[in-house]
């Protein structure tokens, strides 16, 4: 079929002509042909209209006019004048959109399968006979008491809900003296008890009788975690219009801190520099290979050597009875000798009573000294941030205006630092919260790799290869 496009067009034309020439042959005496030859359009139309009527109900002509029209007896003035409809109301007025009409169940056709298992409506449920009796009773005005009861309860509930008090005191209203008489009482169960009256006996009593215990705060919680002040006094150099000396002192402090940091940075760079070398990919692979294959090739040989070197150990001979007795005697002798030595030493110590006293005094002095040192250390610790977690406390940078930033007026003041950060750091410094680095969750999705179809070589059987595949089978 290796013809040009023009040639193909010619061919198509010819085939069309050939098709037209062939007339369809119809056998007229068979029932099958009736459908083709006879025109039943009018019948179809009638049936279709009837089906539509079935679906939508009776045709308009047949319906009583009461169901179609309403006699408007009210005057126009009686109707309330609607204010400008909002967007929502407009949609409500228009009703559901036409495009959704098809989704609504509007068929009037009854289910042809009467036995189909479906969910019964509430009025269909239950015994029809019983239902009938109940309906009759209701018509007579006899309503079962439980219905009445439930109606009453419902009404009561609704009323109670309406009456229900809001939480008696909002958190934003402060209307009593917490440290006064009112604040000194506690609620135990539903009784108000003055905190002063709460002796230990009462505590135990309430615990036994009411199953509720009053837990007191552990005394360690009242101890201060730090000796630092909550709001530290500012350095005089941080004044917006400082004296020359104060400002220079603060500037020098900040400078020292900065140089220290820079020095540290230089040091780390120098130390880490050689580690952060650029390594070409090829060498990296080689390194990886050499690392991974380390000890694989030459592991077996030395193992053999070791086996050879292991000396054979002769099993130990059990001690004879004579040997055992001798060993025991020796042990006893040794013990006796030691005891004697000790007694002798103790006797001798009577002579050096004075020196012993000196020793005792010295050791006591040492302990006293140690106690003092520890006490001092503990006190000093109160002024330092403790190690409360994984991260160390990092002091905030010193806030200082540079010399050219000082204008000397309140209007031209350049602010430094942030009060909230200052508070946050201060709390960390005072061991109230642990310093931490904010953890943020980073979702790393796996990369899915596709190859574009146009780029990939087609897989599967090639037409040209079909023959080749088949040949060996033959």
């Amino acid at each position: 079929m290796a013809t040009s496009t023009l040639g193909a067009a010619w061919l198509v034309d010819e085939s069309d002509k050939l098709n037209k020439k062939k007339p369809k042959r119809i056998v007229k005496h068979k029932k099958k042909a009736w459908r083709v030859t006879s025109n039943v359009e009018d019948v179809e139309r009638f049936l279709e209209s009837k089906r539509l009527d079935e679906r939508l109900g009776a045709p308009l002509e047949d319906r009583p006019s009461d169901s179609l029209f309403v006699v408007d007896t009210k005057t126009e003035a009686d109707k309330p004048v609607k204010s400008e409809p909002t967007k929502k109301r407009k949609i409500k007025e228009i009703g559901p959109l036409r495009c959704y009409a098809i989704l609504t169940p509007n068929s009037a056709v009854t289910d042809p399968l009467k036995k189909r298992n479906r969910v019964r409506r509430p009025e269909e449920r239950g015994d029809p006979l019983l239902r009938k009796i109940m309906e009759e009773r209701r018509a007579n005005g006899k309503i079962p008491t439980r219905f009445l009861q439930s109606m009453k309860h419902h009404q009561e509930n609704v009323e109670a809900l309406a009456k229900k008090k809001k939480p008696e005191r909002l958190r934003t209203t402060f209307d009593f003296d917490l440290w006064g008489d009112a604040g000194d009482s506690l609620m135990i169960g539903d009784k108000k008890v003055s905190a002063l009256d709460l002796s230990d006996e009462l505590k135990t009593y309430t615990m036994e009788k009411m199953g509720k215990r009053i837990y007191s705060r552990p005394p360690t919680m009242f101890k201060k975690t730090t000796g630092l002040k909550p709001v530290e006094y500012p350095h005089p150099g941080t004044s917006y219009n400082p004296t020359y000396q104060d400002h220079q002192a603060l500037l020098k402090e900040a400078y020292n801190l900065e140089t220290k940091e820079m020095k540290e940075e230089v040091r780390t760079r120098r130390r880490l520099g050689p580690m952060l070398k650029k390594i070409p990919v090829q060498r990296k692979e080689e390194d990886w290979w050499s690392e991974m294959t380390q000890g694989l090739g030459d592991d077996e040989e030395p193992a053999k050597e070791e086996e050879e070197e292991v000396p054979c150990v002769r099993p130990t001979k059990p001690k004879t009875r004579k040997q055992k007795i001798r060993a025991k005697a020796l042990k006893w002798q040794d013990m006796r000798r030691k005891k004697l030595k000790e007694a002798k030493k103790r006797l001798l110590e009577f002579d050096r009573l004075r020196s012993i006293r000196r020793e005792i005094r010295k050791s006591e002095e040492l302990t006293a000294k140690r106690i003092e040192i520890r006490k001092k250390e503990k006190e000093a610790k109160m002024f330092k941030p403790a190690m409360l977690g994984r991260h160390k406390y990092v002091p905030p940078p010193i806030e200082v205006n540079l010399s050219e930033e000082i204008t000397g007026t309140l209007r031209g003041l350049k602010t430094e630092g942030h009060v909230l950060i200052d508070r946050y750091k201060s709390m960390q410094r005072r061991n109230i919260i642990e310093p931490r680095i904010r953890q943020t969750v980073v979702f790393k999705y796996k990369h899915k790799v596709f190859t574009k179809r146009s780029h990939s070589e087609p897989k599967g059987l090639k037409v040209g290869n079909r023959d080749k595949d088949k040949t060996p089978v033959q």
Binding site: R171, G183, P230, P234, T238, T243, T409, R411, T415, I433
Partner: protein
């Protein structure tokens, strides 16, 4: 001997619990646990021996006392947390379903927490609460300035604003302000409540400076503020009642119904309260009585008693420092801090009604004595008032007396603003400005200072009579009576016994000798410490002397400069860094580069 004890079943190891264990025990998530800890005041602890406390594990963990966590487990708030979790779950489902009715019903019954019992539990007495007020105030003041669109709940911000304004009203009414310091970070105020100094830091009224998440955790700080608002509310209540004020604060003359639904009216009223410009309604008018210091007959405490008396007098003076003065604030001056400072020293103040509600008089009022201005020049000036820069107010409070206004005139080169919080050790260098401040605080009067002040007083008396003058007069009157005793006439027969002048020189020498003997008496044990102490003191003195000389030199140079150049240039010369030595010069240069 009983059975052998296992490792880590006694001692340090049983005292601590790790955070993860605590979470498991309390069945809370980390967020709720942190919140609970902050509310209850449970802090992580550092063990003495970390290896033992962590049962042999070496990585550093956050540890808590077991007893603290056990105490936490009895807290009824935990149940509230759980209720809230369930509530949130229900809300979420209803929201997703679009069930508005359920959402409304759930919102109606939202579980709420009260923290009153925690305040009482953490601070059993009122004094305990006052001890911890510094933190509370600083944080609440900061939160009150936050913009509404931050992650912080808006009602918390407005509550903070309300409570802090109430506190400022208390300080104004009680005249409790003692020290002020304007730093680059914010303004430090020291307030004395029931004899306790409370320091607070309030940020400058500038735009909101956002922070990055790595700098500070807003969620944690919000928890703190949540607790502090409850605490501050109760403290305010008690403080107001202690000075016979109605709480919540009420302005005289203006009545807004408590249950008024009109939000605008309520907001307007709140703004008037926040203006800080009118004193509040008192419960019962009470006659003020002067507090007199009890005198105890003690030999060695006489000097101290004298000092205390002088201090009390100075504070009394501070309380009515601006009495009779009428201020007007220009638009560029930070209104709130200036009004607070003036009002807490009994001054009258007003401002342009376009900046804030609550202005009482106009700029055109002739009886205004001082106008506070912070710009280089003003077009229209009234002759009857001083135009001064705001620093004058703050310095006056720190010096505890009215300073000469000349140094603070509009466009003048301001004297340095010195920190009132510095305490010097013996032998430290004290700059002359600070020396003057200390002397004035002590109640002494410097000769040069007094003259200027008298001048000032005369000026003031033209405008309106001030109480200061009377005080000055009293001081002057006392002095001549003393001198009269010495200048008695000699013509009488019975000569009055002459006062034998004590041999000052001899006494001093004797003192010195005594001192030397006492030095000799020092035990060998303490001798080294004493020596090092004295050495340090000598070093400090030397350094102070060096700085003093330098200062003198510097002032001399400045004087010569002033003569040669205009005053505008002098300002820049004052603040340009002058090298301490060759090295310091390079240092400052580096600082600039950084």
């Amino acid at each position: 001997m009983g059975p052998m004890k296992k490792k880590y079943e006694a001692g340090e190891a049983t005292k601590y619990i790790t955070r993860a264990q605590a979470l498991k025990k309390l069945q809370l998530n980390l967020k709720d646990f942190r919140r609970l800890c902050i509310l209850k005041g449970v802090y992580p602890r550092e063990p003495n021996n970390r290896k033992k406390a962590q049962k042999g594990k070496l990585d550093k963990k956050t540890l808590y006392y077991v007893k603290d966590i056990r105490f936490l487990s009895h807290e009824p708030l935990i149940w509230k947390f759980r209720d809230f979790k369930v509530f949130m779950r229900k809300m979420k489902t209803a929201m997703e379903k679009g069930d508005k009715e359920t959402v409304a019903r759930l919102k109606e019954n939202k579980p709420s927490m009260k923290l009153d019992h925690l305040v009482k539990e953490r601070y059993p007495t009122f004094m305990d609460a006052l001890n911890d007020l510094d933190d509370c105030l600083t944080l609440c003041f900061f939160y009150s300035t936050l913009p509404r669109d931050t992650k912080v709940p808006a009602n918390l911000i407005s509550l903070c604003r309300r409570l802090t304004v109430e506190f400022l009203h208390y300080v104004i009414a009680a005249k409790a302000l003692r020290k002020v310091f304007i730093s680059v970070k914010g303004i430090y105020y020291q307030v004395e409540i029931k004899g306790q100094p409370v320091t607070m830091l309030i940020n400058h009224q500038r735009g909101f400076k956002p922070t990055s998440a790595s700098d500070v955790d807003y969620r944690i700080m919000t928890n703190f503020v949540d607790f502090y608002t409850s605490m501050l509310g109760f403290i305010n209540f008690r403080l107001y009642h202690s000075i016979n004020l109605q709480y919540p604060p009420k302005l005289p003359g203006i009545t807004v119904k408590e249950d008024a639904t009109d939000e605008d009216a309520v907001e307007e009223y709140n703004e008037l309260v926040a203006a800080l410009n009118s004193s509040l309604v008192t419960n019962v008018p009470q006659a003020e009585e002067e507090i007199q210091i009890d005198e105890f007959p003690s030999a060695e405490g006489a000097e101290k008693l004298e000092e205390a008396k002088r201090e009390a007098e100075a504070i009394e003076r501070l309380k009515s420092l601006f009495k009779g003065l009428k201020f007007f604030i220009s638009r560029e001056v930070p209104r709130e801090s200036v009004v607070f400072v003036i009002r807490s020293c009994d001054g009258e103040v007003s401002w342009d009604p376009s900046i804030f509600a609550g202005a009482t008089y106009d700029e055109t009022d002739e009886s205004i004595t001082h106008q506070i201005v912070d710009r280089p020049s003003v077009d229209k000036q009234y002759l009857s008032r001083y135009y001064i820069q705001p620093q004058w107010l703050f310095d006056c409070i720190n010096f505890r007396r009215l300073l000469p206004v000349e140094d603070y005139f509009i466009g003048a080169n301001l004297p340095p603003h010195i920190s009132p919080f510095v305490t010097e050790r013996l032998g430290d260098y004290i700059p002359p400005e600070r020396q003057m401040l200390l002397a004035l605080q002590r109640g002494e009067t410097l000769p040069a200072e007094q003259e200027e002040e008298e001048e000032e007083e005369e000026d003031e008396s033209e405008d309106d009579s001030s109480d200061e003058e009377e005080e000055e007069g009293k001081v002057e009157k006392k002095e001549p009576t003393k001198s009269q005793v010495v200048k008695e006439k000699k013509g009488m027969k019975v000569m009055r016994g002459r006062v034998e002048m004590p041999d000052v020189k001899g006494m001093e020498e004797e003192d010195k000798e005594h001192y030397k003997f006492r030095e000799l008496m020092i035990r060998n044990k303490d001798k080294r410490l004493y020596r090092s102490m004295m050495k340090n003191r000598r070093n400090r003195e030397r350094e102070a002397k060096r700085l003093e000389n330098k200062r003198k030199q510097h002032e001399k140079e400045e004087k010569s400069l002033k003569k040669s150049t205009s005053s505008g240039k002098a300002l820049t010369a004052k603040w340009s860094i002058q090298p301490l030595s060759a090295t310091s010069d390079t240092q400052t240069k580096k600082m600039k580069m950084m």
